[in-house]
Amino acid sequence: MADTVETHASGDDPNRRDFIHIAAGAAAVGALVPIAWPLIDQMNPAGDTLALASIEFDLSKVPAGQQVVLKWRGKPLFVRNRTPAEIAAAVKDDNASLPDPQPDAARHKDGKPQWLVLIGTCTHLGCVPTFQGGDYGGWFCPCHGSHYDTSGRIRKGPAPRNLEVPEWAFLSDTTVKIG
C-alpha cells in the first residue's frame, strides 16, 4: 500500500473497517446511554416533590357558599362549596355563547354538583382570581379583567379557557384526593 500514509511505522492501514472496530466503537457509544440517562433523569421531579403531587382534603371544612384555597403542586387550588342558586345559575348558562363552551355537569363529580375543585390560576397570564368577583358571581381576575361564572367558565375578558379542573376523586363522602 504505497499510496497511504507511509511516512510512519504502521503496517496494514489500521483504518480498515474491521468488524471488531465497529463492535468496539458501538459498545463504547452504547456505554454512553446508561450514563446519559441518569444525568438527564436527575432533573425530573425528585421523590420528595412527587410525594406532594397528591393531597387529601376534608370537605367538611368548607361551609356552603364558601371556598378554601389550598396549595397544590406549587399552585393555588380552589375548593368551592356552591349554593343551589349558584349551581342553578351555572346550569342555566350551559347553552349561552361561551368563549370555551363546556356544560356545568362536565366540571363536577356526578351527584355532587355543589363541590367544585379548580386550579386557581387565570388561564390568561396566571394571576389568582378573586372569589365571587366579577359580573357572574364566580371569580374575577384583577390583572386584566377576566370574569368567570359560578362554574369557573370564562365569560368575559382576555382569558382563553375555563379554569382548569385537575384530576380529583372522592375517597369518602367527605374526603377528596387531588392529583
Binding site: 511505522a9 504502521s10 503496517g11 496494514d12 489500521p14 474491521d18 471488531i20 472496530h21 463492535a23 468496539a24 466503537g25 459498545a27 463504547a28 452504547g30 456505554a31 446508561p34 421523590g47 420528595d48 412527587l50 410525594a51 406532594l52 403531587a53 397528591s54 387529601e56
Partner: protein
C-alpha cells in the same frame, strides 16, 4: 512488575487510611452474617418490617430519624412496598403506619401548634423539639439521630448490633458512674474507674443509654421469637436500610454496569490488538 506492586499498594493504602488507633480498643464486634452484605446482598423484607417495629416501639422514644419520611417505607426496596401501589403515598400500610404516629402541625385558623396523625408525606417526627430538650431528658446526653447511623460508625451494622446486644455486667473492680452503663463494644477508656491491674483494663466504655432491648419487649407479628439478639439484628437491618434505601438498586445497576464494562474492555482489547498487529513496537 515493581511498578504494578506500587500501584496496588497505593490502592491498598487508600483502603486502610483512616483507621483510628485508640488508646484502648473496644471489643471487636462479632461477625454475624447479614442478608444485605456482598455484591448480591438484599434486604429481607420481613426483617425490615420487624426492625421498623422495634424502632417505632423502643428507639423512637429518644432517637429521631429526621431524614426518613413515612413514604420511604413503601418505596421499592422498603419494608412495606407493594407493587400494587407504585406511588408509596397511596400504600395503605404506609398510610396506616403513619396515622399511628402524631406529628406537629399549625392550626390554619388559630395559628397554634397542634398534633395530628401523620400522613405518608410527613417525616418521622423527632421525640424532642430541640437539642436542649433532648439533653435535659437524657441526663445531658444527646441521643443521636439514627437516619444514617449505620454509615456513621466504623464497621457499621456489626458495631450497632454488638452495642445493642452486647451489654454486660461490669467486671469486678470497675465502678460505673451514676447515669452511665458499661458496654464492652462501646469506644471509651474506663481506666480511671478501674481498681484492678492497669495492664488489663476492661475493653469498652460507658454510655448514657441503658440496655434498650429486652426479651419479649417487642412482639413480632410474624411469630419470630423476640429475643434480644433477634430484636438487635432486625433493628440493625432496618437502620442499614434507612441509611441507604437505594442499596439494592445500586447493586443491581452495578451488576449490569460491570458486565457491560467487561464486554467493552474485551472488545477494545481485540480492537487494539488488531490495530497494532503489524507495527513493530
Amino acid at each position: 512488575m515493581l511498578r504494578k506492586v506500587i500501584a496496588l499498594a497505593a490502592l491498598g493504602l487508600a483502603c486502610i487510611g483512616g483507621q483510628a488507633a485508640a488508646a484502648t480498643h473496644p471489643k471487636d464486634p462479632p461477625s454475624i452474617g447479614w442478608s444485605f452484605e456482598g455484591p448480591f446482598g438484599r434486604f429481607d423484607k420481613a426483617q425490615l418490617q420487624r426492625g421498623y417495629k422495634v424502632y417505632r416501639e423502643v428507639c423512637a422514644s429518644c432517637h429521631g430519624m429526621s431524614l426518613m419520611y413515612f413514604r420511604n417505607l413503601g418505596q421499592p426496596g422498603g419494608p412495606f412496598h407493594d407493587e400494587k401501589y407504585p406511588n408509596p403515598n397511596d400504600n395503605p400500610y404506609v398510610k396506616a403506619l403513619a396515622a399511628e404516629v402524631q406529628v406537629n402541625d399549625i392550626d390554619s385558623e388559630t395559628g397554634d401548634t397542634v398534633q395530628r396523625p401523620a400522613t405518608s408525606a410527613d417525616r418521622f417526627p423527632s421525640p424532642f423539639p430541640n437539642e436542649a430538650a433532648a439533653r435535659a431528658s437524657n441526663g445531658g446526653a444527646m441521643p443521636p439521630d439514627l437516619s444514617v447511623i449505620v454509615k456513621a460508625r466504623q464497621q457499621g451494622p456489626q458495631y450497632i448490633y454488638a452495642v445493642l446486644a452486647g451489654y454486660a455486667n461490669p467486671p469486678p473492680g470497675l465502678t460505673v458512674p451514676p447515669g452511665q452503663y458499661y458496654n464492652p463494644y462501646y469506644p471509651g477508656d474506663v481506666s480511671a474507674f478501674y481498681q484492678g491491674d492497669h495492664g488489663h483494663v476492661p475493653e469498652g466504655g460507658f454510655l448514657a443509654m441503658p440496655p434498650p432491648l429486652g426479651s419479649g419487649k417487642v412482639t413480632f407479628d410474624d411469630g419470630t421469637p423476640s429475643t434480644v439478639a433477634q430484636q438487635a439484628k432486625d433493628v440493625t437491618a432496618f437502620l442499614a436500610w434507612a441509611a441507604e434505601p437505594k442499596m439494592e438498586e445500586r447493586k443491581a445497576f452495578g451488576l449490569g454496569a460491570m458486565i457491560y464494562l467487561l464486554l467493552l474492555t474485551i472488545l477494545l482489547w481485540f480492537s487494539y490488538k488488531r490495530i497494532w498487529r503489524n507495527v513493530a513496537h
